[in-house]
Amino acid sequence: MKIIYFSRTGIFAPAVAAGIHLNQLPVHPPSMPEEILSLPQFHPEYRADNSPVLAGQDCRGHDIYILGINFDRHLVTRLIESFAGMYDLPAASWRMVDLEHRKPALSLPLVLYRSLRLRKMEIHVIALHLLRVYPFLADQVVNLSRELDLQT
């Protein structure tokens, strides 16, 4: 199965979820953002291009993808569902996990760093924000893992 963690707010939340899924990050929130910052997607030079990126393969043999869309998530969900339908791909062969969360990442420092193109600082603020929503992301991964365990 192909599992796609996606978020309307970019690639970072999916990268953290995939990190938890692949045991690169702990289920419990780390106290400092360094562990999150060690993921390749948090490198200042990393550029995502709105297409699914393979993050790795989990212990069950599922391919874990991440997708940051920066757009209407319903449209992208429909697009992926419709694409799978166009090629008659079985529904059980893929799964999308929406990481939409309520806490907005936008903050004054983030806007400031982004407008000044201080990429490193911007990523640091994003990592701090992801620490706040970490329990939500971990819950999504744990729930999915339980579901997958029940299936096998």
């Binding site: 291009d49 709105n50 297409s51 699914p52 757009f71 449209l75 969900t77 694409f83 090629y87 893929w94």
Partner: protein, 164 residues
């Protein structure tokens, strides 16, 4: 191969291009508004349907022609190609064409009035008029697409038969 024509709303320019490709509209431009309005999906798409691939038909070469509304989704082509890679579908099976260059301002205004504001009685005649005005840019676009498509050997299209 699947040929995908895409535009903002998937209601007008992508449908006109796909219809031109499939020969549903005479290439001479000698067609009536009724013919355009009779095309599947023309000026009926709603926002909740955006992002769905719509099958329009199969061309004489055996290629399947689809349309889709991509709205202002950046890197739409990269996303679709990325999905193909993820599902191990050969990139050569997809031919993705933007029809946005064929859109004139009358099509844009008419389409906006009809689809966005729901003023169909006003928007629809304007978008039909705009499509007629821009029709030869669709013919040119489709001609370029067909020139780039790989030709299917006749023996594969009509196994054991011949074509006059």
């Amino acid at each position: 191969m699947k040929i995908i024509y895409f535009c903002y709303g998937g209601s007008h320019s992508s449908i006109a291009a796909a219809a031109t490709h499939l020969g549903l509209l005479p290439l001479t431009g000698d067609w009536q508004g009724k013919q355009l309005l009779g095309l599947p999906y023309f000026d009926v798409q709603v926002a909740s349907e955006h992002g769905r691939f719509q099958f329009m038909g199969t061309d004489l070469e055996g290629h399947q022609v689809y349309t889709i509304a991509s709205r202002n989704l950046k890197n739409f082509v990269e996303l679709v190609r990325g999905l193909a890679a993820m599902f191990s579908i050969p990139q050569e099976d997809l031919f993705i064409v933007s029809t946005k260059p064929c859109i004139n301002w009358t099509m844009a205004v008419g389409g906006f009035l009809s689809r966005h504001w729901g003023i169909i009685w006003l928007g629809r005649p304007i978008v039909v008029w705009g499509t007629k005005k821009s029709f030869f840019s669709f013919v040119t676009l489709v001609g370029q697409v067909k020139a780039e498509l790989p030709k299917t050997p006749v023996s594969l299209l009509y196994p054991g038969g011949s074509v006059k």
